[in-house]
Every structure is written in C-alpha cells, then in structure tokens.
C-alpha cells in the first residue's frame, strides 16, 4: 500500500491529474464554466506549485521508482511555471483560433504530470511511462487545430518521429536492463561504473537511450522534427513543447550520464557528445539565420540552445548539473516569453508568422514588443538578462571542466545567434510599419505572460542567486 510519504511526494501530480479530469467533466457538462478553463487550470497549476513548495521532499518513494528531492522540486517548479504561462496564454489563443476545447487543458496538465514524473524518475520504467504521458498528449496538442493542415502535419511528424524514438528508448532500456540486471537507473549507473567501462551491449543501450532522450531535446542529429513541429503547432503548445519536455529530458539525461560517469568512463562519449553539442549549436544558429518565420527561427534557436545545455551535460557533476538546471530555468522563461509575444503578433494560426510582419510593432505595441525584445536579447545571452546567467554558468562549467575550446565554440555561436535575434528586434523597432499593418489581436492575458516572462528574465538576470542556490543545492542530490 502506498504510504503517506508516497502520496505526499506526488501530491502536485495528483492535483494536476484530478484537475485534468475535472476539466474534462466541465467541458462535457458545464458549458458556462468552460470559458474559465484557462484561468482555472492556471489556478490549479499554482496550487500544485504551492503544494510542491510546501510539502516535504521525502526522497525515494513508491518502492524506489521515484525520487522526490530538491532536483525534482526544482524541475517541477519550472515545469509548473512553464505550464502556468502556457495555459494562461492558451485561453485567449484558443478562442481566437476557434478551438476552444477543454481537452486542451486536460491534456496539457497531463503532459505536465508526465514531465514531472519523468524528471523525478529513478527507474527506467517510470521514466519511460512519464515520457509517454508527456508525449501522447503532445501528439494530440500539436494537432489540436484539427482543421489547420500545418497543425495536423505537425502532430503527425511529432508522432512518427516521437514514437520511433521511444521505440529506441525502450530497446535501449532493454539492453541496459540486460547489462545491469535492473531497471533502477541509479543501480544501473553503479553497475556500469563497477564494470569500469561500457560493454558492447551497454554501449548500444546507452546510445539508444540517449538518442531517445535527445529526441526530446531536438539535438542534432535527432532535431529534424523540431522546426516543422514548432512552426505548425499552436503557439501555446509550442511554448510548452519548447521547454517542458526539454527540461524533463535534460534531467533524465543528466541522471543517466552522471550516474554512469560517462565523462570519466568513456572518452568516446565526450567526443561524441561534444560533436553533438557543437553541431547542434552551429546548425541551429546558422539555419536560424535564414529563417523568415519567427516560430521556425525560434525552433532552430532551440536546437542551438540545447547544444549549449549539452555542454553542461558533458561536464556533468555538481557544476555541470547545476548549470543544466539554471540554463533550463533561463531558457524556459525567455522562450515562453518569446512565444507569448509571437502568439500576439500573429494574424491567424493557419498562416505563417513572417518576421517581416513585426515591422513597426515596437512602437505600436510597446509592452509586448519590449517583452519580446528582452526575451530575444536574453536568448542571445546579453547581460543583464537571465539568459546570460544561463550561458555564463554553462560556459563556466565548461571552462572549469577543462573544455575551454567548447566554451569558445559556444561563444562563437552566441555571436551567430545574435545576428538573427537582432533581426527581429530591428524589424520591430527600426523598420516602419507597413501601410497595411497586419491585424494583430490584443489579448490581455497573453500580453501578461509575455510581460511577466520578461520581468522574470530581467529580475532573475539581475539577481540570479536564488536560482543558483536552489540549483546547486538541488543538484547535490542528483549527482554522484
């Protein structure tokens, strides 16, 4: 029977799950309340976050399947923050897109539960299940605008590549299970370390598992889906998709890489991971330059950003781990802010979002434009924004770990990235509004999300200590 601790530990997940169910019921039976689904879900998310903050973090629960500690708490909170911002902007968005269905919130909340479980899993099984709970709603959410071809196409692509990748993940787990005779990740790591190296079986297993997780991160070479899906999916989903799965997957990846101590165990891993990191950064940034659609551009930028995060994964350990967490937090805030702004600066979901449409909006919509600007500068890694803090800790970890050259490549890539982030900014502020300006909607809630994210980016950029402290304290529970 589940103990008190077991239940306490997953209380936020329970809250979200129940809410998801309730929202479904409301959708079916209470059409009046339906309008407030967005606000309700936001409230629920806050409640869950509150629960996560107030309740104990008991550590191993559910027979060692989950490990609810400060890492879990850290990741959960940022997942919840992302979900909060996503659902908050979804209301207005869905109404505008004529797809105001309550399932959206249920699915989003369930996906969040999946991500949270994935991030706190210490067992391959729950990790896999969490990943699936995260993925399955997202398949549907990407195709949520059922009548919009690009949305359905996005859902389909995400589904096919996603299912393919999770097949690899499962197979990888099978091999690792065969190697280590356990599905517990910690034990698995310990066995690999004991063995003093990767056996062929373990090597294939690790490759498959990492490949499966890397899919979520959209790292090169498993990044292909990202631009298409980002561009096609509904913007709040894109915002969610661009941060939540990545967070959960990064933590899982960190758990595995660090648990197996791949940094020391396998030189090949370091080389391969470096290549992946560098290729992701470079490809993402270089191709982002030539994009004309802002969502697609942000997708490529996301690929590049995961390349940066990969640097920290390579370094691993307390330093790299903390860097991953901080980077995640930063990435989440600025990315959601950017997507919120993009959601505002769009005429219709079925249309592309050309950057040129933003011309002159800097002065027409000062607050949103400023928020977008701040988020973009933050993404470019310009101080004093939070994104800079993220890059700083990542590069710092790389330098301290002896990977100075990786840091140099990283900064070179930051430079390339500045090029296209700046373009959006100059289009907004420095190009005149076209005679026939696109008719952008005005959604209060979405503006708020953008503004809130931007404020967060600034405040946390100026005072990153709480996040750093939390990340550093948290990571001690995770790393070896």
């Amino acid at each position: 029977m589940p103990t008190h601790n077991d239940l306490i530990a997953v209380a936020p997940e329970i809250i979200l799950t129940v809410a998801a169910g309730v929202l479904l019921l409301i959708e079916a039976f209470l059409p009046r309340v339906r309008r407030y689904a967005s606000e309700l879900s936001a409230l629920v998310v806050l409640t869950a976050a509150y629960a996560r903050i107030r309740l104990d973090l008991p550590g191993d629960v559910w027979g060692g399947m989950l490990h609810i500690d400060r890492v879990a708490s850290f990741v959960d909170l940022y997942i919840l923050a992302a979900v909060f911002l996503s659902v908050w902007m979804a209301g207005a968005f869905l109404r505008r897109s004529d797809a105001d269905h309550g399932e959206f919130y249920s699915l989003l909340l369930l996906a969040a539960v999946g991500a949270m479980v994935m991030a706190s899993s210490v067992d391959a099984l729950t990790l896999f299940l969490g990943l699936e709970l995260l993925s399955i709603p997202l398949y549907a959410l990407n195709a949520f605008l059922r009548r919009v071809p690009i949305s359905v196409e996005a859902g389909l692509k995400y589904f096919i590549v996603g299912a393919f990748a999770s097949a690899f993940l499962v197979y990888g787990f099978a091999l690792l299970y065969g190697e280590a005779a356990t599905t517990n990740l910690v034990t698995m790591g310990a066995r690999v370390v004991e063995a003093g190296g990767l056996s062929p079986l373990a090597a294939i297993g690790v490759a498959m598992v990492i490949g499966g997780l890397a899919f979520k991160l959209a790292l090169f070479p498993v990044h292909g889906w990202a631009p298409d899906v980002y561009q096609g999916g509904p913007t709040p989903v894109t915002a969610f998709l661009s941060v939540v799965p990545k967070g959960a997957a990064l933590v899982a990846l960190l758990r595995i890489v660090d648990g197996m101590d791949l940094l020391r165990l396998s030189h090949e891993w370091v080389v391969a991971a470096s290549v992946v990191a560098v290729a992701s950064m470079t490809l993402g940034n270089v191709v982002a330059i030539v994009q004309r659609d802002i969502k697609r551009m942000l997708a490529y930028s996301g690929i590049a950003h995961m390349g940066y995060a990969m640097l920290a994964i390579i370094v691993a350990g307390a330093e790299g781990g903390a860097a991953v967490l901080v980077y995640l937090a930063a990435y989440t805030l600025m990315n959601i802010g950017a997507f919120a702004a993009v959601a505002l600066f769009s005429e219709s979901e079925s249309e592309p979002h050309p950057i040129s449409d933003l011309a002159g909006q800097g002065w027409r919509r000062p607050i949103v434009a400023l928020a977008l600007t701040i988020c973009l500068f933050s993404l470019a890694g310009v101080p004093p924004f939070f994104g800079f803090t993220g890059k700083f800790v990542v590069f710092r970890a790389a330098v301290n770990g002896g990977f100075v050259w990786l840091a140099v490549i990283g900064v070179a890539n930051s430079l390339i990235s500045a090029f296209y982030y700046l373009r959006v900014v100059y289009v907004m502020y420095m190009q005149p509004e076209p005679r026939r300006a696109p008719a952008f909607g005005r959604a209060f809630s979405i503006s708020w999300v953008a503004a809130l994210s931007a404020v967060g980016v600034v405040v946390l950029g100026l005072f990153p200590t709480p996040v750093l402290t939390a990340a550093q304290a948290a990571i001690l529970n995770l790393v070896r």
Binding site: A143, V152, F159, F164, Y171, A174, G178
Partner: protein
C-alpha cells in the same frame, strides 16, 4: 527442458528490431509505418523477455527477472495508448488530405 539459449532470443529480437526499422524508414503509408513501429516495440519486449528469462536462472536476480516481465507488460500498455492516438491522428490527417502518405505531409519544411 528449457534449453534455449537466451542469446538466441536476443538475436531474434535484433532481427525483428531491424525489420521494424526498415519498415519505418522505407514505408510511406502511415499505417504501415505504425505497424513497423509495433514490430520494433515487440522486439524490445522480446529483448526484455530474453533477459528476464536469463536472470530467472541466475541466483538472486529473480527480482530483476520479474521487473523485466513487468516492463514488457507496461510497454504493451503504452503501445495500445500510442496506437489509439496515432490512429486518431491518421484519421484527422486523412480527413484533411484524403491520404495518409506521410511524404505528402510536407508543407512544413526548410
């Protein structure tokens, strides 16, 4: 009685995995791709089963052996869930395009 070496099972699993992968990569029909995916999942199951079968023979690893079997159980469950969503997606796609040829889903590119 049980004299089958578990590596044989693993070899079979590898072959099925390979065949499944070929199917995913070489078919254009979404349903066929999905069928291939199921083969891949099943090959994973087979691998789990093979190891579980082996661990059952090792002293002290019966817990691990059970865990493997359980994993298979859950994978089957997940496969069912994926099937539901996937097929629904195909229906939605078909509704829009009158086709489930994935090569024709290429509005989004470059």
């Amino acid at each position: 009685m049980n004299a089958i070496p578990y590596t044989w099972v693993l070899a079979l699993s590898a072959m099925l995995f390979s065949i499944g992968t070929v199917g995913v990569l070489l078919r254009r029909n979404a349903i066929a791709i999905f069928l291939s995916l199921e083969i891949m999942l099943n090959s994973a199951n087979l691998a789990f089963v093979a190891f579980a079968y082996r661990f059952a023979a090792e002293p002290g690893l019966d817990g691990a052996a059970l865990a493997g079997q359980l994993f298979v159980f859950f994978v089957i469950g997940v496969a069912a869930a994926e099937a539901a969503v996937g097929l629904a997606l195909f229906i939605a796609l078909h509704r829009l395009k009158e086709s489930i040829d994935v090569d024709r889903a290429n509005i989004l590119r470059w």
